[in-house]
Symmetry: C2
């Protein structure tokens, strides 16, 4: 069998462990020089393929590739760029094939979320439709945890651990101050469509560490009176309260709360941020002194407090993708299959891309408590293993020692540019 090269690209919002998947894939490829040629990475994702801007990962040392396992972000650059459908935007696909052919690329590894799974599926269909043999494997990644079939998504567990830890720490802080000062702490977390990350905030409180935490899920329409009553009752009972609010929380009419909120002094700009809106509402209506935080990128980049489980799974799906390719598979995604909750065990299975693309996995209704402000025991059982274990990066001079790759370009073989 001829040894062909592989293309790998990172897609969409990056995570603290997407590079661990790259590490798994590249290390697995390096271990099989008899079967696998070079791994070329797209500079800034799929755009790198369209523009024939490929990175030669074979020029990176083994140590640099190994360091990807503990380095957050997308080491080769990512992009938000969705390929349109095959029929109406044929030029894009023809260009991909032109580039793949020029560099003898027989394997397409796409590391991303739902949109990327769809792109990956389309690329896998190129073989038939355009007569170019290529195997396309999708590697799951998304902090949103919304891919179907796989039990969880690499990237999510580490965000969950960061949020659960941060909410616990901030709650301890507020508790200390609540007698004379701050009584309410509001933290805004990611998750525009599904409340998985917000739910993780609920883990901050546990049987051995009870903390008063309320969650505002995107799945639960915001009811002002009910929420204010709950905050008031919680603070009256515990002396303080922490609120975890999803950026995607909406009112009864389906409008994002963040969209009705902040304007600058001139009244013309919408600045985003639902945490200050919620905090201010509580002060206006209940009179409580508050603090608020917006974690934003910090949560998905926080490799310093990654979940060991998450890192291991991210690495494993990267390795599995390579093995799937060598096994001749096409149009598939390595999926994480949960075998048991406690002690947690899992294995890698295989999901057909046709069943993954464009399907969004929402939080089950029975993961949210009856009053809508907390998580159920079932949710806790699901989430807890995903934040299990620590996997600290090495430090140098007090700071995490993250790797920056050389990212040397593969010499171009085609003439002409491709406009994206």
């Amino acid at each position: 069998m001829a040894v062909r090269n592989a293309f790998y690209a990172q897609s969409g919002g990056v995570t603290s462990v997407i590079n661990a998947s790259a590490c798994g894939l590249i290390e697995a490829a390096r271990s099989r020089p008899d079967r696998m040629g070079k791994v070329f990475a797209g500079r800034n994702g799929i755009i790198g393929a369209l523009q024939e801007d490929l990175i030669d990962t074979s020029l990176e040392s083994d140590a640099a590739i190994a360091a990807l396992r503990h380095t957050p972000s997308g080491a080769f650059g990512s992009c938000r760029y969705k390929l349109k459908d095959l029929e109406t935007h044929k030029a894009q696909y023809e260009r991909l094939i032109e580039v793949f052919r020029a560099h003898d690329i027989g394997y397409f590894f796409y590391n991303g979320g739902g949109d990327s799974a769809d792109t990956c599926l389309k690329v896998s269909q190129l073989a038939e439709k355009m007569g170019y043999p290529i195997q396309a494997i999708h590697i799951p990644k998304t902090v949103d945890n919304d891919l179907p079939i796989t039990d969880c998504c690499p990237g999510f567990g580490s965000v969950a651990k960061y949020i659960a830890t941060s909410v616990r720490e901030a709650s301890f802080d507020v508790a200390s101050m609540s007698k004379t000062s701050t009584k309410l702490f509001v933290i805004e977390v990611m998750g525009r469509h599904a409340g998985w990350i917000a739910a993780a905030g609920g883990l901050a409180s546990s049987e051995d560490c009870d903390l008063p935490i309320l969650i505002l899920f995107p799945e639960v329409p915001f009811e002002e009176e009910k929420f204010l009553a709950k905050v008031d009752e919680t603070i009256k009972r515990h002396g303080y309260c922490s609120v975890v609010v999803s950026e995607g929380v909406k009112d009864g009419a389906g409008k994002f709360l963040s969209d009705q909120g902040l304007k600058d002094a001139f009244g013309h700009a919408q600045l985003g941020g639902v945490a200050p809106v919620i905090a201010n509402l509580c002060r206006e209506k209940l009179g409580y002194k508050y603090h608020w935080a917006v974690a934003d990128y910090l949560q998905r980049a926080a490799r310093h407090i990654a979940s060991r489980t998450d890192v291991e799974q991210a690495y494993a799906v990267g390795r599995a993708a390579l093995e799937f390719a060598l096994a001749g598979k096409n149009s598939v995604m390595p999926a994480i299959i949960r075998k048991a909750d406690d002690p947690y065990t899992w294995e890698i299975g295989s999901a057909a891309l046709s069943e993954v693309a464009n399907v969004e996995k929402m939080m089950p209704a029975d993961f949210i408590s009856e009053d809508g402000f907390g998580i159920t025991e079932k949710c806790r059982r699901y989430l807890l293993p995903l934040i299990g274990g620590e996997d600290y990066p090495p430090y140098r001079n007090g700071l995490p020692d993250y790797v920056k790759l050389a990212n040397v370009a593969v010499p171009r073989k085609l003439s002409g540019d491709f406009q994206i």
Copy 2:
């Protein structure tokens, strides 16, 4: 010599290592039962003394006290409550003495910042003015790093490590996304008066990990045109840019930028938050897509990424306070004396409270780079040792295992309440 009891209170905003000072003090006291009686902690700080709401720390196990070393926040509760001066508010001081006398308290340990040092000094003067023998020792604590004489303040090093790490991580993230999406990341950090914490953001970039970071210090009046030009130039050169903005940054007229910023949709409320103001300015004027974060309490509660140096120093000043008391000292504060930068060595010295109280240590002008947007090598030499080393808390079920003390009240001996 008669064995008398001690009073310990936490004051002002808490930190991730103030409990390490409590741990040092209490462990030292337990090791000298021949000289030191019980340590009574004020519930919610000095208010606990005024209201005779004392916590009997002798009822906590050795393991629980040891766990304070890795637990953030104020385990006994803190407060924002400044004692007024001795002459006009004599009743407060008389009440303190009444409570101290009732519980045979001969030592007053006050763990806080500049205001607390002032209170501690006043209490130390009670002995002479009101005929009650008491030794008052101040234990330094403040994330603001603004106490004089001591080279640094316990609490600061861990915030600095958190901010430097977070800025590095978020910068890696933005770099990945910058080709098609976010090009600017803005993070707001604490420090209303001095830019120590903002300066720590500059550590994210180092010789071995160069990152484009701009800092907005409270010490440098904000000039919109100059700032926008710098952001534009930085993004044009590096493709992206991270901005660390102190909550205390002011315009040329001395007005806080955060005060001119956010209003809610009804225009009546000031919501705080300078990060969105800065981010929005850059979008309006330069057109860059941004993300912003406000770390707020997360930064000072982040025990999970505490600086080992900071933890050791916090513990050491707690122990030293007890030793100072046993040595008969009064009106003093253990201070951290730097012996060398690299390798970093330090020891505990003694500072007179009269020289500490009401003196704010600002950032030296030569710590800020000439253009006003960065730190100098001198600043870096000062800061780097303070974030040195890691000191991870134990984990349980994926979360830091922080201790909650029983905090059993000492039976009251006085009748009547004291209104604060």
